[in-house]
């Protein structure tokens, strides 16, 4: 029994929507960064699904799979920078709440 491609794409869309919703609704910097990771992983899942759709037993289309590896790398780098900034901010403000970012007028 194999999972149909459509299911992968639907799951990716749900993950992406969850990430966007988390980004828009939560005000905690760490949750927001986690929501961004969720969006990147939705892209990963959809890349892998695309990879499977375009591959046959004779010819394998690896573009999507390789893209996924690079996205994982980028996500890690982005998390590293993001969390370092969260720490810097916590030292200054003793909070990671995004509403505390009010030095610069909106």
């Amino acid at each position: 029994m194999t999972v149909p491609d459509e299911h992968l794409l639907i799951l990716a869309a749900i993950l992406f929507a969850t990430g966007v919703a988390g980004f828009l609704l939560r005000r905690n910097a760490i949750i927001v960064l986690a929501s961004i990771e969720l969006m990147l992983n939705a892209a990963n899942l959809s890349f892998v699904a695309g990879c499977r759709m375009h591959s046959t037993s004779a010819a394998v289309n690896l573009d999507g799979a390789i893209f996924t590896i690079f996205v994982i790398l980028v996500a890690a780098a982005e998390a590293a920078v993001g969390l370092a900034l969260v720490i810097a901010l916590y030292r200054l403000k003793q909070t990671v709440h995004l509403d505390a970012l009010n030095e610069l007028e909106g």
Partner: protein, 509 residues
């Protein structure tokens, strides 16, 4: 093997820049950050080598009509379009490094990473402007973004700097997520991550061309393309992805703001032009795809109108010069988008010309801001009152930049705007040109508040300590702004060569 070595020759500028950034990093570690000025001089010398290599490459490319050559299994595309932006990127990196050296509020020791991060961002720009492959494009864009996040928060113990970079990283992450999801959908639909293959594939087997997708069901592919465009729109701060711009520009150290406003934004536009060109305007494009391209053009035209209006109206009520320049850069993004919205090769080269003009006048304007931050310890426009008499050369040069930013003759900004307006009317976007013209009038008010503060007030009590080196440097940029406004031929030729190398054609009616 020979082929491989020849390939390496083509990406020599990138290789040298990468090597330079590593040498800079190690040098800083070895000297334990005792004198960061040495690191800056080393970076400048290295950038000189890169510029020399790029000029040689430009010569070769221009001789053959700027034809594209692909390197590294088609990942990197070396063409006149990319080299045009690389040359300006190297120039603005050098200017930004000089700004860091001249910044009186910056430490002189232990800031070697500053230069390393700037060069790293430069490598990102180099790769993102010279590829038709979405993977390399994404990696270049992310390298630029990651370096920019760190640079914006360089003074991490300063509240404003830390806040700016936090906002930048969060909105940057969102746009990266949106863009990558868009790319994954586009890959899922077409089976390729190469823009050229998407544009011209015939639709039998994979890669499936865009034409077949649009004919079958336009909704998914349109969604994917709009998601990707949203990612680019963030980089060039087009409404509605501009929220971060004023805050990040205000909070970041001024040399970094200069880099973000000039090099990073222009690189974003380069990617935008290449993406739209490769998908919708490439020679031999399917008529269905071209028809959807026109709709995308209309969408861009609407965004351009909203962007320039919002940028200009918000700039009007700013009291901080840094924030005002941030909104002005949003407005300028709107003007450049006009050239893209025209969806013609001539419109693209007008956009390129305007970006070149934008380098000159914005580097100058931010340099002026930095100069007076050092003198006044304040970014307020009011603090400039009467200072024109105390620092006459810098202030007169600033008036030239302001004239150019407004788009009045005889400056490069005027000619750039003229080209954009002409191409806009030519493409049947008369309404957009009208809005842009009205916007230019609005921008006159806030730009000339600075000139008014400088010269039409009583001379200030304070003295401005002369900084001959910095002054001479700004004067040089000012001369460039006026000279290229009078002799427009060279810049115009360069941007036309650049556009030609994209291989895009007039849409056949």
């Amino acid at each position: 093997m020979d082929r491989y070595l020849a390939d390496l020759g083509l990406i020599a500028p990138e290789l040298v820049l990468t090597l330079l950034s590593l040498v800079v990093l190690v040098w800083d570690l070895v000297t334990k950050g005792r004198d960061s000025r040495q690191v800056a001089y080393l970076s400048l010398a290295g950038l000189g080598v890169v510029a020399y290599l790029l000029l040689g490459q430009w010569g070769d490319l221009a001789a053959t009509g700027g034809k594209a050559e692909t390197v590294a299994f088609g990942m990197v595309t070396i063409d006149a379009f990319g080299t045009f932006f690389k040359l300006f990127t190297v120039g603005s990196l050098a200017v930004v490094i000089l700004f860091v050296l001249a910044d009186r509020r910056e430490r002189k020791h232990g800031i070697g990473e500053y230069y390393f991060l700037l060069l790293g961002a430069g490598i990102g720009v180099f790769f993102m402007v010279s590829t038709n492959n979405l993977l390399l494009l994404m990696l270049g864009l992310e390298l630029l973004s990651l370096a920019s996040y760190s640079l914006a928060g360089f003074h991490k113990s300063e509240r404003r700097s830390a806040e700016a970079s936090m906002k930048y990283v969060i909105f940057g992450g969102l746009s990266a997520g949106i863009m990558l999801y868009g790319i994954s959908l586009l890959y899922g639909l077409t089976g390729t991550i190469d823009l050229n293959e998407m544009g011209i594939a015939d639709g039998s087997g994979w890669p499936v061309g865009l034409a077949a997708q649009f004919a079958q069901d336009p909704v998914p592919v349109a969604v994917a393309i709009v998601l990707i465009l949203a990612g680019f729109a963030y980089k060039v701060s087009v409404v509605p992805f501009h929220f971060w711009t004023p805050d990040v520009y205000e909070g970041a150290p001024t040399p970094v703001t200069t880099f973000l406003a000039v090099a990073s934004k222009a690189a974003g536009f380069a990617v935008l032009l290449r993406f739209v060109g490769a998908l919708f305007l490439v020679e031999g494009v399917d008529s269905t795809v071209a028809a959807y391209g026109e709709r995308i053009g209309l969408l861009i035209a609407i965004l351009a109108a909203v962007t320039m209006t919002l940028g200009n109206l918000s700039a009007l009520r700013q009291t901080s010069m840094k924030r005002m320049l941030a909104y002005s850069s949003i407005a300028h993004a709107g003007y450049v988008l006009m050239g893209l919205a025209a969806m013609t090769p001539a419109g693209f080269s007008a956009a390129m010309f305007y970006l070149a003009a934008y380098y000159f006048m914005n580097l100058g304007a931010f340099g002026f801001l930095l100069y007076f931050e050092g003198v006044n310890k304040s970014e307020d426009i009011d603090a400039l009152k009467g200072m024109g008499w105390k620092a006459p050369v810098v202030s007169i040069v600033m008036v030239a930049f302001l004239v150019s930013l407004t788009g009045l003759p005889p400056t490069v900004g005027f000619y750039g705007k003229l080209l954009l307006f002409y191409e806009g009317v030519d493409a049947g976007l008369g309404w957009l040109v009208l809005i842009a013209a009205l916007n230019s009038v609005v921008s006159l008010f806030y730009y000339f508040r600075i000139a008014k503060a400088l010269f039409l007030s009583e001379p200030a009590e304070r003295e401005a300590e002369p900084q001959p080196f910095f002054t001479g440097f700004l004067a040089l940029l000012g001369v460039g702004t006026i000279l290229f406004g009078i002799y427009t031929e060279p810049l115009q030729n360069w941007s036309e060569t650049g556009t030609d190398s994209l291989g895009i054609a007039e849409a056949s009616e």
